[in-house]
């Protein structure tokens, strides 16, 4: 097992190191808070010759993703990163690499969407892109930001995958905070990510036409093919994470559990607030409560099997969404309920919304969620209708 060295790095710098070690060929990115440190660090690396890549200073995020598509189609290993409004601006383009099976790798420094203008963290940018067909994973700390970015290249470019992959890192909480982490040596990483070789590239020696016109007589078949292939990426994701763990000692799973052994009540979180939630779980456990925490590491393809297995003995599942889907509630909660609906044995699910626009979620608020959820479960059993609560609002 490789050792590496302990360093203190911002999430942005950790991601940049991963891109450098992956030896990306083309980087096309547009600066936007809170991702700016990634593009700046990568520009520095290229300027100093630490990374041999073409850094395209594109004039917008739409162009950033389009350039990545072109470069990937031409056989290059690519990278881009964005946040919030930038992710929205490239929305149209996001469907292209997934439909065209191009392994673009992107890191999102999750940022809340305007209006009003905000640069701080929530998951509204992530939730707006659930359907794009990218492999999506979440980091909770800078170590994971680094590890998952490396793994993203390995997974995306695998001949049996060939789908774009995204790593979500909470804006500011991870991008701008220095944490200690283990950084492997360059040589330790070499060999983990093989050379990128797409079977069909833009090459005059073997001409192909890409992005053709598909009327109704053929479009559904292309989508069926895409969905089947996309669902079949899960074994490769698991295989890659296993190999990564064997090499570097850190193992990742689609759904990760914290103190779930005999938990009757489980909290479900995504992103950096999960580590705060762990403190709450510790405090409640110390008081004798059977509570645990599960986090989604893999968001797309949705890990149905692993998720259902993780909650099979849970009586109450408390979901915290860091986004509001107006008129519907919390998107993650909706998906969780949908994933459980057909199960004969399933927990009561109570959802909350919190942490919008960068509002910190405190340890005591996690404890409140659990207490409140238990009250709400009783109310539902009495036949009352429960509305999804948005916590921490100053009324």
């Amino acid at each position: 097992m490789k050792k590496g060295k302990i360093v203190g790095l911002e999430g942005s710098f950790a991601v940049s190191e991963a891109v450098r070690m992956a030896n990306a060929d083309v980087i096309a990115a547009y600066p936007i808070t809170p991702q700016t440190h990634i593009v700046e660090r990568l520009s520095e690396m290229v300027a100093d010759g630490e990374l041999d890549a073409e850094f395209i200073c594109v004039e917008s995020e739409h162009t950033a993703m389009s350039a990545c598509v072109g470069a990937s189609a031409a056989g290059a290993r690519v990278f881009t990163c964005t946040a919030g409004q930038g992710l929205e601006l490239m929305h149209e383009v996001l469907y292209i690499p997934s439909s065209m099976r191009l392994p673009v790798v992107a890191v999102i420094a999750n940022r809340a969407l305007s209006a009003p203008l905000t640069v701080w963290c929530d998951h509204s940018d992530m939730m707006a892109i659930r359907d794009i067909g990218w492999i999506q994973t979440l980091a909770e700390n800078n170590q994971q930001a680094f590890d998952l970015t490396l793994c993203a290249y390995r997974i995306a470019e695998d001949r049996e995958v060939l789908f774009p992959a995204m790593v979500h890192i909470d804006g500011f909480y991870l991008s701008h905070v220095i944490e200690d982490m283990t950084l492997p040596e360059d040589e330790e990483v070499a060999g983990f990510i093989p050379e990128y070789e797409h079977p069909f590239t833009l090459d005059p020696d073997k001409p192909v036409s890409m992005g053709c016109y598909g009327p109704p007589f053929i479009y559904p078949e292309t989508k069926k093919a895409q969905e089947v292939a996309f669902e079949n990426t899960i074994p490769k994701i698991l295989e890659t994470w296993k190999e990564f763990g064997d090499l570097f000692g850190r193992y990742y799973a689609p759904v990760e559990k914290y103190r779930m052994e005999d938990a009757k009540i489980a909290l479900l979180t995504m992103g950096s607030c999960s580590e705060t939630a762990m403190l709450a779980i510790d405090e409640l456990r110390a008081k004798g409560e059977d509570v645990g925490l599960i986090r989604l590491r893999l968001w797309r393809p949705f890990p149905f099997k692993e998720f259902r297995e993780a909650v099979k003995d849970v009586e109450v599942l408390v979901v915290l969404d860091r986004c509001v889907s107006f008129g519907m509630g919390g998107p993650v909660c909706s998906e969780v309920k949908s994933a459980l609906y057909d199960q004969r044995k399933k927990p009561n699910v109570v959802g909350f919304i919190g942490g919008l626009g960068g509002r910190d979620i405190l340890v005591e608020e996690f404890e409140y969620l659990i207490r409140s959820a238990l009250e709400k479960v009783k109310a539902i059993e009495r036949g009352e209708e429960i509305k999804m609560e948005m916590i921490g609002i100053r009324e």
Partner: protein, 311 residues
């Protein structure tokens, strides 16, 4: 135009191979398809072509068939230059890193209609030109969003009927003057800008060859008469192109490192009415509007002659 010695032999220098394969779904008399065919012959096969959503893309790439005998990619409407920037950078990086042999020398070419170029794709094109990528961009200008049904673009000429600037009790059709896209390209200080027309095939092919061979960004604006959208008889496409040039409506010129050169000079321009009279999109125009157009065309043409140093 005087016939010069050797004119008869020039066609024999053009490849007979159809790099833009026949069998595509273009309208009868499509000036754009003709232009694309000629451009492809001039480019040869060591190219990668990026195309925008538009007439050319949909007529040539209906799954499972393709007209493209060279590597070709289409993604969206407004990002030809952006995708191109990525492809060009990919090759640059991979050649430098020893993954592709230098000798491969692939050329990168973008095709966009006037919609994709002067309107929705202008940002991407401006960015790519400013960054100095090594590519040739060809705008196939049929003066409206033809693929979606003849809606106006900023390239639609003054007074023309389109479905979104239609002629009516309160409208003469297009109420603004055609955006001067070649001048916008010139303003980016790129090495080569040219205008061309398939009615002058050898001039067009020469310009394409020049543009693609020059290092850095090159822009060729190609007049593409459209019988369907301009409403003229389908057999008059070549004629329309010639009249546009001979009336000064679409002058042919090059700008090589900032220096203007007229490709053909017509000290006595034919009246614009000769060009416009066969096209139903102009049929509603009154004398005074035609005079307005005539005056403007003459003014612009004189300006151009001045820039080209022609007395």
């Amino acid at each position: 135009m005087e016939k010069e010695e050797g004119d008869l032999f020039v066609p024999r220098l053009v490849t007979t191979e159809e790099i833009f394969a026949p069998g595509h779904r273009a309208c009868i008399g499509c000036g754009e398809a003709l232009a694309v065919r000629l451009v492809c012959k001039a480019l040869g096969k060591n190219v990668i072509i990026v195309t925008a959503t538009g007439c050319i893309e949909i007529i040539s790439s209906l799954i499972p068939q393709t007209s493209w005998c060279v590597p070709w990619i289409h993604t969206l409407f407004e990002n030809v230059a952006a995708v191109m920037s990525g492809i060009e950078s990919a090759y640059k990086a991979r050649v430098r890193k020893g993954k592709i042999p230098q000798a491969k020398e692939v050329k990168f070419v973008g095709f966009g209609g006037d919609g994709a170029t002067t309107d929705i794709g202008l940002q991407a094109l401006s960015g790519a030109m400013e960054r100095g990528h090594d590519f040739l961009y060809c705008c196939f200008d049929n003066e409206a969003y033809m693929n979606t049904g003849i809606q106006r673009s900023s390239s639609t000429p003054y007074g023309a009927w389109t479905t979104t600037a239609p002629v009516g009790k309160k409208s003469i059709g297009q109420a603004t003057w055609k955006k001067n896209m070649p001048e916008i390209a010139v303003a980016h200080a790129i090495p080569y800008v040219a205008t061309a027309c398939p009615s002058y095939p050898f001039d067009l092919m020469d310009k394409v060859k020049k543009g693609v061979e020059m290092e850095g960004p090159a822009y060729v604006h190609i007049f593409s008469p459209c019988p369907t959208g301009w409403r003229y008889p389908t057999n008059l496409t070549i004629e329309m192109g010639r009249l546009a040039v001979e009336t000064g409506v679409f002058p042919l010129y090059e700008v090589v490192n900032g220096e203007y050169r007229l490709s053909f000079d017509f000290p006595e321009l034919k009246p614009v009415s000769e060009y416009m009279k066969e096209q139903r999109r102009f049929r509603h125009l009154t004398e005074d509007i035609i005079e307005k157009i005539q005056a403007r065309v003459e003014k612009e043409y004189l300006k151009l002659r001045e820039k080209a140093g022609v007395k």
